[in-house]
């Protein structure tokens, strides 16, 4: 379909983008020495890049439109084909065994650096699954999710610093405090619709961070809390690599626990209520679902996971300060959920591993990480709002009599 008009369109697009990015990409000023650096080569990159990308963009846009005109059912079947494969017994069991084996031997085969990266990725899996409850299942766009993460981390940091309380005591406590904050935030925003909710949660997240940054007597301000003790294993002293392996298995355990709980929740009464709430609030209320309670449990449960992940984060890094809890962190977790597919557990796991591990292994790539996250959010929403692995919706099939 490389007709002349297509090429002309792309050429114009590329000219437009060359114009658009000209001051920011090409010129760079050194305001102190009053020098101007011209980077003309960037202009060519932008021009050629946008020329090629515009073909791809239009191709996918056309494909999407064609798809919309066809029966929607067809698409729904296609999108869940990956899950279809996994749901078959023949593939499911060997796949799960292989995954379990990989998980079990990972820290013994890989060095401690790799294991550490994996621990971080697993932490994001946990956070992603937690946020998935709020955003994916209940459809409440929470942009301040990192606030609950901070609550958990500071709960452990402060309790450990002042009273020397151990990790295992604080873990449920951090979760509980997270839930409490979730309810505290949930109450005022119950009446708000999606977009207002997003802004208020964003504001809430920033308030928590600013308080942590400025209330020196309480949180030690920007310098943070250092020397937080690592989790203990029945008082056994562990070597450096032993500690990492222990942390790794602890994280694996937590992730399995999270998957189990979220999976059970999804099919429970409350999980169905969340999905109903996501689809249509008014209709959901008309069906006799208590909106207040449903929303609050979503907030509280989502926040519980963030709180626990926060405790683990503090224990892993042994140092916390407010800089770890910026809006960018919330955005990162959100892009994990969006990429994975809202409400889809395997999708979120794969997306978290992909988005966290990829920039770690492709070092040259890591600068472009946030750029990529932003682009992913836009591209996914435009072309594939259901995520890489869409959830299979429960539905009844009405079959015609002659079949």
């Amino acid at each position: 379909m490389m007709t002349f008009t297509e090429i002309k369109k792309s050429f114009l697009t590329s000219l437009w983008f060359m114009f658009l990015t000209f001051p920011i990409m090409v010129i760079r000023v050194n305001t102190i020495e009053k020098q101007v650096i011209w980077r003309w080569e960037n202009m060519w990159y932008v021009g050629i890049g946008s020329f090629l990308l515009s073909f791809v963009w239009r191709y996918f846009l056309r494909r999407k439109e064609r798809g919309n005109n066809h029966a929607n059912e067809h698409i729904a079947n296609m999108s869940s084909s990956i899950q279809r494969i996994f749901s078959r017994r023949r593939y499911k069991i060997p796949a799960m065994v292989a995954a379990a084996m990989t998980v079990a031997v990972f820290p013994f085969v890989m060095n401690s650096y790799q294991t550490n990266i994996m621990i971080t990725a697993l932490m994001y899996v946990m956070l992603g699954l937690g946020l998935n409850i709020v955003v994916g299942l209940a459809g409440l766009l929470d942009l301040g999710y990192v606030a609950f993460y901070a609550v958990g981390a500071y709960t452990y940091g402060l309790l450990n610093h002042h009273f020397g309380i151990g990790f295992w005591t604080v873990l449920p406590l951090g979760g509980a405090l997270g839930a409490l904050f979730g309810v505290l935030l949930g109450f005022p925003v119950l009446r708000l619709r999606g977009d207002y909710l997003a802004i208020v949660t964003l504001g809430f997240g920033e308030i928590i961070r600013l308080i942590l940054e400025n209330w020196n007597e309480f949180s030690y301000g920007p310098s943070g809390i250092a020397h937080i003790s690592k989790p203990s294993l029945f008082g056994i002293k562990l070597s450096f690599s032993g500690e990492i392996t222990y942390m790794y298995f602890l994280m694996i355990g937590m992730v399995c626990f999270t998957i189990f709980v979220v999976n059970r929740l999804q099919n429970s009464r409350i999980g169905r209520a969340w999905i109903a709430l996501r689809e249509d609030e008014v209709a959901c209320q008309a069906m006799g679902i208590d909106k207040t309670r449903t929303k609050l449990t979503a907030f509280a449960l989502g926040a519980t996971w963030a709180g626990m992940a926060g405790v683990i984060f503090a224990a892993k890094t042994t140092f916390i300060n407010p800089a770890s809890f910026t809006f960018m962190e919330s955005a990162m977790i959100l892009s994990i959920v969006v990429l994975g597919g809202m409400g889809s557990i395997p999708g979120v796991i794969i997306a978290a591993l992909f988005l966290i591990l990829l920039p770690e292994y492709l070092r040259a790539f890591s600068d472009y990480r946030m750029l990529l996250f932003g682009a992913i959010m836009v591209i996914m929403m435009v072309f594939r709002p259901q995520g890489i692995i869409a959830t299979v919706r429960r539905n009844y099939n009405f079959k015609k009599a002659e079949n």
């Binding site: 920011i24 009053k34 101007v36 802004i199 946030m370 750029l371």
Partner: protein, 300 residues
């Protein structure tokens, strides 16, 4: 009393900058019911374009007034172009998608633009040349009101008048109001809705660019992150006044600016941003419709 006046004038200045940004939010929301998260970034790009243009021209040795005019113009043109492009890429394909989709797309766009400027330029604070020249005016009052503040107030006032005239009396203004009321009906009556939406983005972005250049030359430094906080505050102002309502946005902006100014002046400056957020949370709880907004009922 002097301190009070100083804070009052500072608050008004802040408020007028917020108003310039908030108008973009409120106009876009009025027409397509979307919080344009990337609006703060448009403002930041405006400031950056002005800085780059001004620096290049300064090296070339152009007269100061010419620098001011050209930098302002460049900022407006580029911000509008960015606003237009953002709408085409991130929002237009999502016109009929569920509400959450364009919102997430907008957040993605905002993160993308921030990091685009961060990578292409720098993460450091850049000193912004004071485009507005220092001049003397009415002696006793200049103690409370700095020349740049006066310029900001006057510019905002002029821009507001122009905007009001545009929306009230021009054809495109009429089309905008019609689209805001009922998009389908406007379409049926021959309004080119896509063009109206694009125009709204362009106008909003141009206003944000003016705000960006004014505040940057007032404060004297910018970095890639200024759009985030300014965007949230302007949004707060828009919600405070009742989102979708243009006089509401202006009123809300002045209230927010004054509140912030007095709160930082009399209470504590550490929590400057907390006041704005707390105000936002409070309004949404007690008066989600805003001061001048209509409360809407939700229908199935």
């Amino acid at each position: 009393m002097e301190y009070f006046l100083e804070l009052f004038m500072g608050g008004l200045t802040r408020g007028s900058i917020y108003a310039l940004i908030a108008l973009g939010y409120t106009m876009v929301y009025g027409i397509i019911e979307l919080i344009n998260f990337a609006h703060g970034e448009i403002y930041m790009i405006g400031a950056f374009t002005a800085l780059i243009t001004a620096s290049v021209l300064a090296v070339m040795g152009v007269h100061q007034f010419a620098i001011m005019a050209i930098a302002m113009l460049a900022a407006i043109v580029y911000s509008s172009a960015y606003g237009f492009t953002v709408e085409k890429i991130a929002y237009k394909p999502l016109r009929h998608a569920p509400r959450l989709s364009p919102l997430i797309s907008a957040i993605g766009m905002s993160i993308f633009l921030q990091n685009y400027v961060l990578l292409a330029q720098t993460s450091d604070f850049l000193p912004f040349p004071s485009l507005i020249p220092d001049f003397k005016f009415l002696e006793p009052y200049s103690n409370y009101l700095r020349p740049t503040e006066l310029v900001i107030l006057l510019t905002t006032a002029v821009v507001m008048v122009f905007l009001t005239l545009l929306i009230k009396f021009t054809k495109i203004g009429k089309a905008m109001r019609a689209t805001a009321q009922d998009r389908t009906m406007a379409m049926l009556l021959g309004v080119n809705v896509n063009r109206v939406i694009s125009t709204t983005f362009v106008i909003g972005s141009a206003l944000a660019a003016i705000g960006g250049v004014l505040i940057a030359s007032h404060i004297g430094q910018i970095n890639f992150f200024i759009g985030f906080i300014a965007g949230i505050k302007a949004f707060t102002a828009a919600v405070l006044g009742g989102i979708g309502s243009i006089p509401g946005a202006v009123l809300g902006s002045f209230i927010l600016g004054l509140t912030e100014s007095f709160a930082t002046g009399y209470v504590s400056s550490d929590y400057e941003d907390v006041f704005a957020f707390a105000l936002l949370v409070l309004i949404l709880i007690f008066r989600p419709g805003g001061l001048l907004g209509k409360s809407t009922t939700q229908k199935v």
